[in-house]
Symmetry: D2
Subunit: 256 residues, 4 copies
């Protein structure tokens, strides 16, 4: 499996993890380890910046696990830029998952404000990974604005519906010059495998692992699925055919 390069970092794992919704910090930690993920996103608001020993962060101190603070909760570019700066200071990283979602019900991303924030944050030296709608035109605009990657959604966040934006992800992947990371909606390892098979560079998974019966085991399942999908992409899948073709020859052995 080829390695993945984003900005200044190299990843052997193409599975990124979210840390919300887990029953306990221990469950979350076990899932992160089982996933072998090297990039884990944390909401700034869940990090207690006022004490030296934040519980969440303590559970994420593992070699090879990079933190990716996100701006979840920000409703516009101004709030997001402010949050980004707090995060950089607190977590000592200029990497940022940019999330701007004014709507509290579906948490869908705001194209206008996300582009504006990306332009500002790029000037401020951030490595930006913006969470966006699967909008191919917006992806190119973010690329021009200096984004390090794009993170189009597969389905409304938290629904486990899978790759409902498939037709648009295809176009994004075809056109993008920065890595494409499918974010939101991935509900099962088969969804993650499919995302990788179609040429996505990585996937970010959270809900599907956090709410599983056994989160660590599910994290391992996603690890395997992401590898499977990437292997398949590199090995090149055959075409989907309209007409059946036998894998065995048709001439009857009875005539031999």
């Amino acid at each position: 499996m080829q390695v993945l390069n984003i900005a200044d970092k190299t990843f052997r794992s193409r599975l990124f993890l979210g840390t919300g919704k887990f029953g306990t910090p221990q469950q979350m930690e076990e899932a992160v380890l089982a996933s072998q993920s090297e990039l884990v996103t944390v909401a700034l608001k869940r990090v207690d910046l006022t004490t030296d020993s934040d519980t969440l962060l303590a559970h994420l101190q593992h070699p090879g696990v990079h933190l990716l603070p996100n701006t979840s909760g920000a409703r516009n570019a101004r709030e997001a830029v402010f949050a980004a700066q707090l995060a950089r200071e607190a977590l000592e990283t200029n990497w940022l998952k940019l999330e701007i979602h004014p709507d509290p019900k579906y948490l869908l991303p705001d194209a206008i404000e996300t582009l504006k924030a990306t332009e500002e944050l790029a000037k401020l030296g951030f490595v930006i990974l913006p969470y966006i709608h699967a909008d191919p035109v917006l992806c190119k605009q973010l690329e021009n604005a200096g984004t390090a990657a794009v993170m189009p959604l597969g389905a409304p966040i938290g629904t486990n519906k899978g790759l409902r934006t498939f037709d648009f992800l295809e176009i994004i992947i075809e056109q993008s010059k920065v890595p494409v990371i499918i974010d939101a909606g991935i509900g099962a390892p088969s969804d993650a495998a499919k995302a990788m098979e179609m040429g996505a560079d990585a996937v970010l998974v959270n809900t599907a692992i956090a709410v599983a019966g056994n989160p660590a085991k599910m994290a391992n399942a996603f690890r395997l699925a992401v590898e499977a999908g990437r292997e398949a992409y590199e090995a090149k899948l055959g075409a989907v055919l309209q007409h059946a073709q036998a894998s065995s020859p048709l001439t009857s052995f009875l005539e031999l």
Copy 2:
């Protein structure tokens, strides 16, 4: 991952392989090894019974790899039973993949003749794995007739279309007392993962591996995907939701 029991055998791998359509016997052998499959189906007609050293078979002589002769080419129960008996003698196994497909274009299975052949072959002591339409009623009839497993199709054979019979596979898996192996149509590792996630006991793959750009690498991808899907099934997936749910809390960190 739990082991799988079919009749008198125990399998650690839940990926079964077909051996048709490969460019060379070497490619086939490499794919079988990379897949770590323990059950490999061969068409009797491709096995040359008249010489001691059949090429195909020579490439399948590996510890832990069981042969599953199939009756591909048989157009009715009579032909299938005859072929089964030839196969048992030639390959020294009473395991049989029963395939009866009168139509040379789509190679779809014949329910009537398959049930009839299963009844006869069960009396003759065969361990029968019949390739069938995803027909839940037929599955119960085959079970009553003494089949060792059922092998419903996911899509027309050779199309790589995936699990087009999903709604019926669900019912089959819910009702079956014998192992359910999804056969035909599985075109990508994500399809195999999905089959396992929904509770199938195993999958049989051929075309998707044989026609891949790199068959051995693709076989490895399927190995990982089948493990991923089974792990997910055992770890229990969360529900698909209609409404979005954030993985991060909504209350803005800005209000902290």
Copy 3:
């Protein structure tokens, strides 16, 4: 819209109706009239054969509305043949919707017993319309046994899931020499339109109309949709394309 011929009858409407699940006989009657259907199926068991004035039948006495008794409830060929004979005497028609479903949960049809019953009923002079799985091989066998049409299911009955068997219906329609009527699973007018667009000769709808908020209005909606789908089939749809094509020319008017 071309007329449809089945056996000795000619139909201007390609929408057939079921009569179960309606709130009242009046609702059912209004729906039948709004649908402009010319063929309406009734379960023999809901027809009270012991009185002269059965309520259900009284509501179906309209010019141009033919009755199609069905054998719903039959668990095997013997029961179905017996029911068919009762129906022929009671309703004075040799037309029969053959339904054999041993499983009380999903009511899925039995291929083996349906073929057997078709063979017997054909000899007895019935015009047979069998409800079956979307199994292309079985369809040809029923054709050879003398069926007047085939009625493959779109999805498990009563689910409103639509055309989940699409890939197999395509093959059935391509191969069939008798009319193909899609039965079971059609949950919305768009499903009915799609069935007709793909070349089905007719559809049978029941649940989707009977359980609608306004059954008569929904029946009218299905009438329109079936006409729409048939018109589209006759007018020939364009291909589904992978790549976008503008309907307006690309050269900018600004350059004029």
Copy 4:
């Protein structure tokens, strides 16, 4: 079927038409008449503003058919606003289909520039119907900017792929205070019916009619399908169920 109000106009037909890609102006005219559409979009660039008798426009002079000039070809807000003003003067209507698509391959709309143009055009007194991605957040922003309706796409334009953005259209329809018109991608009457069933206020169709074997007949098919879908929406569809339910009672008539 309820009438549809957009800004100052009332429509009895919920089918809007595009006029590109037809073989001849006569074919286009026949299709418009067969569709009974009351709103027809024309690209300004195809209208020859320098002569008194433009061919295209002559074929659209029918009572009840309103013209909706579009800005197809505009690559940014500036070009679109300029084109809008030309169109208003030339065609004597302040209605405008706003299309901004910088990418010449997929013609996907530009969220940023479309919002900007909408803000400007609203101030200039236009009745704006913007063609956009199925982005629920953008729809609310356009609403706030004074759009008269929103026109989210179903699939990449010209592909005939249908409602690939279904999950997002659902959210848009749920949240919108202005009419929602599904534009682009609708490839068959069944797609149009489905859009209406889910609660869209109207659909705009072009390619599927223009490239049909018989465009006028296909236009009639779409007319019927749109009516069918709206009727079904008003009559309220039943739920899609996981488990089958018989439309006929299960108790065997044989036991009567």
